[in-house]
């Protein structure tokens, strides 16, 4: 079967084939990523072939200068995450037939990562974040003698297999909307690994970890866009792990941060009035006594006024709000 592949080329040495056509610059927030040149190739492959098969065929027989990382070809090594039709995917797991749009498949290095050459991005932001969560066991003492394992339940180990299944391909970070606007965000993969260790019954520093992960750039900077859950090729579902960490952090008393206050303001407003009080949401999240923080929100408030989106000054409860309070009481927890 014939497949048409449009490959985003980038060569810092400036050498391009004649048929590599300059592409449009990327839209914000990726407008600082260098524009690619797009080169079209046609490959003849079996119907069930994947994008990586096409890239290897191109590199082996059409253009040996195409740079692409790959090793296992079977979604284990994590080398070949790239943008395929504008979203991060493993090239070895993406069937060409499923990714052909308007007669072609477009592949490129994601503009959310620095680029080295062609489909090879600089993974430094990814590995820096991985390192930042201290991804190693801080052994609970006493460590059993050298001929004895920690006694833990299989269920406790199975709880972590989802995170251990991570192959560090970075598809989640490449498409993370929070990372796109905030380079300091630890990101989905690192936080999923943070849970992998914080949630390990053999780890001694759960509290220290939760304190660390609750800081700006950590668990509260995720905006729940679900891109990481959608893009992860191994079902790690990083967002779900971030939510687990949030619960652990709040339960452990790490509540003095904008994230918890924001979540609390949501819950309290719904409990007390049956709906969201947008007027108090921002001040409550920032903290009422945080004068500098409050002043910093003023431009946003003015923008809202200008756009005609400023919430009503009088916030009314919905009828039957008592029944909502009953739900909160039944559920229990911090807001009953």
């Amino acid at each position: 079967m014939q497949f048409t592949i449009e490959v985003g080329r980038f060569n810092p040495e400036g050498t391009y084939a004649e048929n590599a056509v300059p592409g449009a610059p990327f839209p914000a927030p990726w407008d600082r990523s260098p524009a690619r040149r797009y080169q079209t190739f046609t490959v003849d492959l079996p119907e069930h072939a994947v994008v990586l098969d096409a890239l290897i065929a191109i590199r082996e027989y059409q253009d040996q200068s195409l740079a692409v990382r790959c090793a296992c070809r079977s979604a284990i090594c994590g080398s070949c995450a790239m943008w395929i039709n504008g979203h991060a995917n493993l090239a070895c797991k993406s069937k060409l037939s499923a990714f052909t749009q308007d007669g072609k498949t477009r592949v490129e290095s994601p503009p959310s990562m620095p680029i080295i050459r062609d489909l090879v991005c600089d993974m430094k932001p990814f590995w820096d974040k991985h390192l930042a969560v201290k991804p190693w066991l801080q052994n609970k003492q006493p460590v059993p003698p050298p001929n004895e394992e920690y006694r833990v339940s299989n269920a406790a180990m199975e709880e972590l297999i989802q995170e251990v299944s991570c192959i560090s391909c970075s598809a989640c970070l490449m498409d993370c909307e929070s990372f796109a606007v905030n380079p300091d965000f630890l990101g989905p993969q690192a936080l999923a690994q943070a849970f992998r260790y914080a949630g390990d019954p053999r780890d001694a520093e759960t509290k220290e970890r939760l304190a660390e992960y609750s800081k700006p750039g950590g668990i509260w900077d995720c905006t729940h866009c679900y891109e990481c859950v959608t893009q992860c090729p191994k079902g790690v579902a990083p967002l779900e792990q971030i939510l687990k960490l949030r619960k652990m952090a709040v339960d452990a008393g790490f509540t003095d941060n904008a994230g918890t206050r924001h979540a609390d303001a949501f819950a309290e407003s719904v409990r007390d009035s049956g709906r969201l009080n947008e007027l108090t949401l921002m001040p409550k999240s920032v903290g009422f006594f945080n004068i500098v923080g409050q002043i910093k929100t003023l431009p946003s408030a003015f923008n809202l006024i200008r756009a005609g989106k400023f919430p009503p000054l009088i916030h009314k409860a919905i009828p039957g709000v008592n029944r909502i309070k009953t739900i909160f009481e039944r559920v229990g927890g911090r807001f009953k």
Partner: protein, 559 residues
């Protein structure tokens, strides 16, 4: 640029990183040189598990005997004893590092059955055991702060007065060549599967470590022992873990028959790999295959076992063949998987070349002999990785720093410059690689015969001559993979030559090496290792070493 360290480790899979960690613990200034990021290493593809006699009902002697029998009595028994005795502690250490091993109801490590083992002694994490070990070890390397030269491609070992004192490597991101000097080098650079087509191995398994050591004068041992795994996925050739059969899967022929009853009536599907692969080939050859495959049937295991204990292979069959193992059997066939032979080392991981050590698949201690048991390779990496790291660090303590190497750096620069300057001939390295690898599978695969091996050697000679003229299809500096692929193909040619020559020399059938013209094992003449060493141009120097036998005399091998 020239940089100095005490110990350099080439390769960042389980053996390389375990060696680096141990050398760092011993106080050495250690650095890892790897052509891919450590997490991309092929150790991650090991699925089924890792063997050790930990249970009270088990013993290291039993593990050792199974390993020796599995090796068809070619393994050195002192090395096997060391490995099986140290296995429990090494695995427990990984548990302490955080590996989430499967547990039994008592909260202690739990096992699954594996081929060629007299009892269930395989410890595991689902069917991602290698990956689970690799990420945990990588995180320990981060914690220890070991320097990693990532995406640096080694082009030659630096030799000084007959001793190995570092290497030259190409930094792929800049295209710059560097001289990295050290007092000792540990090669843990993995296997050579790309020399065969098809193979379960990743595209990065190109025999670099064997070739670099061989060119530096280190002998390669038992290179004829190439393992074919019985269950590789039809078409792609991806690995379907032996754990599937360990959990109870059947092998069926076109008559829906569990044909292993004819070949291994006691162990059935869990016979050693060489036995099972040959059985499959016989079935297929005698017309009881299905399009050149047999069937791996998991249906009776039920969705719970399949989805919880074997999720990765379930996903792979679904992704690459559209087959749901819960509902349908999967077509599989024997495929090249592992090289038992390698750089000859002693039981500490030291090669005959001073300052040069090796561990993992690239090394030959030998613990696998003629045929490796499933779940013994991960064990090999962590036991001999640790051992070699320790002795290399000790050796480095009493060794003065190297001061030379500039000439080698200049030579390598010149070699690469010439390679890049070659004019196009129309021929590609990829095309040549495919011809070579197809030829290896055909003539130096599961069955070998003298005429075929002679033909293979002639062909290889022709491939070499063509290789010398093929241009590199990318003239750039930055991330030039066409250049590194050309170097890799050179490594594969060296490996191929040693495999063919050793296969010609061994006129018997033992383990994975089956000579149709010499179908019997011949202990009288061949209870010995074959070593090939490069001495200048021309044919390699041949020597033999007796097999070390401590307690198990060779017996007839049945399963």
């Amino acid at each position: 640029m020239i940089t100095d360290h005490d110990v350099l480790v080439l390769g960042a899979g389980l053996a390389g990183m375990r060696a680096a960690l141990e050398a760092a613990r011993a106080g050495a200034d250690v650095a890892i040189v790897t052509k891919v990021h450590p997490i991309r290493s092929h150790s991650s593809a090991a699925q089924g598990g890792i063997n050790a006699a930990i249970a009270e009902t088990d013993s290291w002697e039993s593990h050792a005997f199974d390993t020796v029998k599995g090796s068809d009595y070619l393994a050195d028994q002192d090395a096997v004893e060391a490995m099986t005795q140290e296995a429990p502690r090494d695995i427990i250490e990984f548990e302490h590092m955080g590996v989430i091993f499967f547990r039994g109801p008592d909260g202690k490590l739990g096992t699954r059955a594996f081929g060629g083992a007299s009892q269930a002694r395989t410890y595991f994490v689902g069917d991602i055991t290698g990956q689970a070990l690799l990420v945990t070890l990588y995180d320990q390397i981060l914690k220890a702060g070991v320097k990693v030269y990532e995406e640096w491609f080694a082009t030659a070992l630096h030799m000084e007065e007959g001793a190995c004192r570092g290497l030259v490597a190409l930094e792929m991101v800049t295209g710059e060549l560097h001289l990295l000097r050290s007092k000792a080098v540990i090669v843990g650079a993995g296997g050579l599967g790309r020399l065969y087509e098809p193979s379960t191995n990743a595209l990065i398994c190109t025999g670099d470590g064997y070739a670099l050591a061989y060119r530096a004068g280190a002998p390669l041992m038992d290179m004829e022992m190439v393992q074919y795994h019985p269950t590789t996925l039809a078409g792609s050739g991806f690995l379907m873990t032996e754990a599937a059969r360990g959990e109870g899967a059947y092998l069926l022929n076109s008559l829906n028959e569990r044909f292993m009853k004819r070949y291994a009536p006691n162990k059935m599907e869990l016979a050693a790999r060489d036995v099972t692969s040959r059985a499959e080939a016989t079935e297929i050859g005698e017309g009881r295959g299905i399009d050149g495959n047999v069937l791996l049937d998991l249906r009776h295991l039920g969705p719970d076992v399949i989805l919880k204990k074997l999720p990765q292979i379930h996903e792979m069959a679904l992704d690459y063949l559209g087959i749901d193992m819960v509902k349908e059997p999967v077509p599989v066939r024997p495929g090249m998987h592992y090289q038992m032979g390698g750089i000859k080392t002693d039981v500490e991981g030291a090669t005959p070349v001073p300052g040069l050590y090796a561990a993992g698949e690239v090394a030959c201690v030998s613990v696998h002999g003629g045929n490796r048991l499933g779940a013994n390779s991960l064990l090999d990496t962590i036991v001999f990785g640790r051992r070699s790291g320790k002795v290399a660090a000790e050796y480095a303590k009493n060794t003065p720093a190297s001061t030379g190497g500039e000439a080698l750096l200049r030579n390598e620069q010149e070699r690469l410059r010439e390679l890049l300057a070659r004019p196009y001939t129309g021929e590609t390295n990829a095309g040549l690689r495919l011809e070579l690898a197809t030829m290896m599978d055909e003539l130096v695969g599961l069955y070998r015969v003298e005429a075929g091996l002679r033909e293979a050697l002639d062909k290889l000679d022709g491939f070499r001559q063509r290789y010398e003229t093929i241009a590199v299809g990318d003239k750039g500096r930055i991330f030039n993979q066409a250049l590194t692929f050309s170097l890799e193909l050179g490594h594969m040619l060296d490996c191929g030559e040693t495999i063919i020559r050793s296969a010609l020399i061994r006129t018997e059938s033992r383990g994975a090496h089956t000579r149709s013209d010499f179908p019997e094992r011949n202990d009288k003449e061949w209870l010995k290792h074959i070593l090939l060493a490069r001495r200048g141009e021309g044919e390699p120097e041949l020597s033999y070493l007796p097999v070390t036998i401590t307690r198990w005399q060779p017996e007839v091998r049945t399963y």
